[in-house]
């Protein structure tokens, strides 16, 4: 019973202080949560390694008491130090917690009857979770929660100070050989990673938070589920079914995350709570059964601290659990299962994991297509060929439109000025290109723009085409608000006098225009059938885009060629020099004039 109480005190300290109260204290006092939590995690890893290095069963009682003392000191410091001192509090508490978890896990086989190891670990784990779900503690202020954590740590120190622990032989068997150890660390890493991400999402989504921990009734039922599921998990582990428990925990956690991805709140609480109790019991049982300090350090440093950092980092950055990530997690978890079975399985497992990671389709759950399109733009690495930065006072303004104010650029997350132009600048592409043109160009760049170095993004338009259409929406949004300014500047544009070598025109026409307009300007190019409106036939006597009384038709035509026609598939050729544009204008006029002669 006493051992279960110490396990409960350890887990409860971690849950109520490290995961809840300390986070709130830091947020209130310092604001900058990440660096302090990073210090806690780094100290936790360091504490785990030191504990493994210095572990000796005969001295483990004292070591546990010291570690509990460090935990109490760290938590106490967090209550009294100024904001800058929270780093110190994090370091002390992290060292204590890291040392405590490893020392305790490595000692349990020397303290408990082997046949009941899992049961008592389940009892301690379940008690800790149930205790933390008591409404008076769950809803208490961070300071009060911290005081309770200090009291628990001091109680742990008193209980363990005089413990005499028997040295035991390290466990053997498939789960403690090379493959087994790797498998278990991967499993526990995946479980902690998923749990940390799910916990963060629930905490930061008011509806989910209310549906999971809202009100005394839900908290009480969570407490009961935690306690009994943890007991059951321990009992199963005692019957040699630990791997099955891990699989059950993973399945439930994936189900809970699936519900979160789908925006579902009903049922999340029970599924999530049960999953957490199952794997939390295993997180102690696996290293405890092994009785190997370095294995315990590996489990807690990689799966515990590492998994928490990865899960919280992912959720903070993405604000959600991507469905592709769930798919990858399933592949990795099952891949590790295959790997555990031996050499034949390892290749298949590695292959499965890699395939899962590479071919996982990112389920971009954003509802705003422009925001989703920006994600697609970033994911596909468009910044490596396209800038979004018009340099004031350069030829950029004529080619790519008005500049964006610096404060507007800085408001973006992240800003995407780019550093290279294998293709045009896209600052104002939404005002320069129609959605129809962008769609066609993304799918078949070489057909639209012969010689272009851009790869095809037709795969983004496969299936429901959500990613492709979102990218089109994002591109359409770029510079849309500067369209009037852009049009005014274009209206003022005139080619430099003397521009134009007529001989250049036909060659350029065949290369740049014939795809839509046809080689003779009849509007019968190979792309014409893919456009919503047919290109004009230059042989018709009337111009479609030039008014009859246009005083300077060559200049007007040159402007159309240079900047295109807004809202249509007729795109500009802003990158061409004046000489090339005027040559093209003269050639097109020539086609028209020749055909206009009866």
């Amino acid at each position: 019973m006493l051992v279960a109480a110490v396990i409960a005190a350890t887990y409860a300290f971690f849950l109520i202080f490290a995961e809840f109260a300390f986070l709130e204290l830091v947020q209130t006092a310092a604001g900058a949560v990440r660096p302090v939590m990073a210090a806690l995690a780094a100290a936790g890893v360091a504490g785990s390694l030191v504990a493994a290095w210095r572990f000796a069963a005969v001295k483990a009682g004292r070591a546990l008491a010291v570690a509990f003392g460090l935990c109490a000191a760290g938590a106490g410091l967090a209550l009294v130090v100024p904001p800058a001192g929270l780093f110190g509090a994090a370091a002390v508490a992290g060292l204590g917690l890291g040392g405590l978890t490893v020392t305790l896990a490595a000692s349990l086989r020397g303290l408990l009857e082997p046949a009941r190891l899992g049961f008592w670990i389940g009892a301690g784990t379940g008690t800790a979770y149930a205790f933390c779900n008591l409404p008076w503690l769950f809803a208490a202020s961070p300071r009060r929660q911290t005081l309770v954590a200090v009291a628990l740590a001091l109680l742990g120190a008193v209980l363990t100070w005089r413990w005499r622990i028997l040295p035991v032989a390290p466990a053997t068997g498939v789960d403690y050989a090379g493959r087994g150890k790797t498998t278990w660390i991967v499993w526990l890493l995946a479980l902690v990673w998923l749990d940390s991400a799910a916990f963060y999402v629930i905490q930061h989504t008011p509806d989910l938070r209310g549906g999971t921990w809202g009100g005394p009734g839900l908290l009480a039922s969570n407490a009961l589920v935690h306690f009994f599921v943890a007991l059951a998990a321990g009992a199963w582990a005692d019957r040699g079914r630990a791997a099955s428990v891990a699989l059950a925990a993973f399945a439930l956690l994936v189900a809970a995350c699936g519900l979160l991805v789908g925006g579902e709140t009903t049922g999340v609480a029970v599924v999530y709570t049960a999953a957490v109790s199952l794997y939390s019991t295993l997180l102690v049982h696996y290293p405890a059964h092994g009785a190997r300090p370095w294995l315990a350090a590996g489990v807690f440093a990689i799966a515990g601290w590492g998994g928490s950092a990865l899960g919280i980092g992912m959720a903070q950055d993405l604000q959600r659990i991507p469905s592709w990530f769930l798919a990858v997690a399933v592949v990795v978890f099952l891949g590790a299962w295959v790997y555990r079975r031996g050499p034949r399985g390892s290749g298949a497992a590695a292959g499965l994991a890699l395939m899962g990671l590479l071919f996982a389709d990112e389920a971009r759950a954003q509802s705003d297509p422009v925001a989703l399109g920006r994600e697609v733009y970033v994911s596909e690495g468009c910044i490596h060929c396209h800038s979004q930065y018009v340099r004031p006072g350069t030829t950029d303004g004529v080619r790519w439109g008005p500049a964006v104010p610096m404060d507007e650029l800085r408001r973006e997350s992240p800003p995407l000025p780019g550093n290279r132009r294998q293709g045009p600048d896209l600052t104002n592409v939404g005002a320069r290109r129609s959605a129809e043109w962008n769609r066609l160009h993304l799918q078949d760049p070489q057909a639209v723009n012969p010689g272009s170095r851009m790869p095809s993004y037709a795969h983004l338009f496969a299936g429901d085409a959500a990613a492709g259409e979102a990218l089109v929406a994002y591109l359409g949004s770029l510079g849309a608000e500067r369209a009037a300014e852009l049009r005014a500047a274009q209206a003022d544009w005139r080619p430099e006098s003397g521009s134009g070598v007529v001989a250049e025109g036909p060659r350029l026409f065949l290369r740049l225009c014939a795809g839509c307009h046809g080689p003779e300007g009849r509007g019968d190019g190979p792309l014409a059938g893919r456009l919503s409106g047919p290109p004009p036939d230059f042989r018709q006597p009337a111009w479609r885009r030039l008014p009859p009384g246009e005083p300077d038709p060559e200049r007007a035509l040159a402007r159309l060629i240079k900047f295109g026609v807004p809202g249509t598939a007729m795109a500009g050729h802003e990158y061409l020099g004046d000489e090339a544009v005027v040559s093209l204008a003269r050639h097109v006029r020539g086609l028209h004039a020749a055909s206009a002669v009866p």
């Binding site: 660096p35 980092g313 930065y389 000025p417």
Partner: protein, 404 residues
């Protein structure tokens, strides 16, 4: 056995391995630019998804690992346990890079160059750095009795500074953080360029000590660095333009280092196998400083920003200077090694840089030539692919020599 040679094989396998991987991706990218239709073979893994692999594997794999090895040679006990610990740290580092590559291919990226670590991949490299730091700190502690108070203070101070690096990197990877921007170019400010180059000069200055290269102490090097740091601190750190005199003057503070760095490094007795690489690094350093300053100046910046000329400059820094210096480190650590691949690499790099510089100069006047793939730019890209292939070949030779 040479004290530092214990580590060299382990280190070379990782460092050259990442150089080969990054170069192979670079060659693939060069081929994609020349023949975009090749991209169809790779399905959704297009040019933009491969780029972060090339950039980050070069920076955090090839450029960083020899420096980490130099640090390890200084701190870690050169015995079997030390070698095992170093293997562990390098293994964690390489695992982080490999997983990072998977994340970028899967489209998980921050959208920030050289800081692409995002989502689930964001803590990977900081965690690997923590593992390395733990190994360094452990050995510094175990060997504390070998040093006097000053030696202990220097090692302790350095470890404290290094402890901040993982957290800083994690913070910098965030999308909400973005450095100062030169409003007239959209690129780096003069102060930023000065600061990052001074940081590199600090590393260069510490190398002889880390590698235990015999030579004379040169207080003037550190005094000049202190002056540079003063200039850096006095410069405007906001979104300052390259038209601002203060920014130009700040960057001009690097020009004296044209001579200072070679003079300093020449004062040490480098191993014969390291000397050709050291001399090559002096040449690249001179070209880098001069062209770096020129391309920042008004007029030049307007012409060359966003063009292949700046890609040439990046290769000048990474493939020219850093690679030559890293080979100096690795040859010094090993205390030998052949000069195979020296001219293959150097000539490949020179052609690569020259071709891209010419292409960039031309591109500023006529972007259509590049966008539409005219004959000249196709020929230039083909030459660049050949030069990249030569560098890949040289790196494969070195990797094989490392016993991998």
């Amino acid at each position: 056995m040479n004290v530092t040679a214990v580590f060299s094989r382990t280190l070379e396998r990782h460092a050259f391995g990442w150089l080969v991987a990054a170069n192979a991706v670079g060659v693939w990218l060069a081929a994609l630019l020349l023949w975009p239709a090749l991209g169809g073979l790779a399905g959704p893994f297009g040019y933009g998804r491969w780029m972060p692999l090339h950039l980050n594997w070069q920076l955090y794999g090839w450029c960083a690992l020899p420096l980490a090895g130099a640090l390890a040679a200084w701190l870690v006990t050169p015995d079997a346990a030390g070698r095992w610990h170093l293997r562990l740290a390098l293994g964690a580092w390489s695992a982080a890079l490999a997983l990072g590559g998977v994340s970028w291919l899967a489209g998980v990226t921050s959208g920030k160059l050289f800081l692409d670590w995002h989502g689930w991949a964001r803590p990977l490299l900081p965690l690997a750095m923590l593992v390395l730091w733990s190994v360094l700190a452990l050995h510094a502690w175990l060997r504390r009795g070998e040093h006097g108070p000053m030696g202990r203070a220097i090692r302790g101070g350095l470890l404290l500074v290094l402890l901040a690096v993982p957290s800083l990197l994690f913070w910098a990877e965030g999308r909400e953080v973005y450095p100062a921007v030169n409003p007239h170019s959209g690129g780096a400010t003069g102060a930023s360029l000065l600061g990052s180059t001074l940081a590199i000069l600090v590393v260069f200055g510490a190398l002889p000590a880390f590698l235990r290269v015999p030579g004379r102490a040169a207080w003037w090097y550190w005094a000049a660095l202190a002056v540079g740091a003063g200039v850096f601190m006095a410069a405007d750190h906001g979104d300052a333009s390259h038209h601002a005199t203060g920014q130009i003057v700040a960057l001009a503070a690097l020009l004296p280092w044209l001579g200072l760095l070679p003079a300093y490094l020449r004062g040490f007795a480098w191993h014969a196998s390291a000397r050709p690489w050291l001399h090559a690094s002096f040449v690249w350093w001179a070209v880098l400083v001069v062209t770096g300053f020129l391309t920042f100046l008004p007029g030049w910046s307007e012409r060359l920003k966003f063009t292949n000329a700046l890609v040439a400059h990046a290769h000048l820094a990474m493939a020219g200077l850093v690679t030559s210096l890293n080979l100096t480190i690795l040859r010094q650590l090993r205390g030998g090694g052949s000069c195979r691949g020296f001219w293959l690499w150097q000539s490949g790099c020179a052609v690569h840089v020259a071709v891209l510089a010419v292409l960039g100069w031309r591109e500023a006047e006529d972007p259509a030539a590049l966008f539409l793939g005219d004959g000249f730019s196709q020929a230039a890209y083909a030459l660049r692919l050949g030069a990249g292939g030569a560098m890949l070949l040289a790196s494969v030779q070195w990797w094989k020599e490392s016993g991998a």
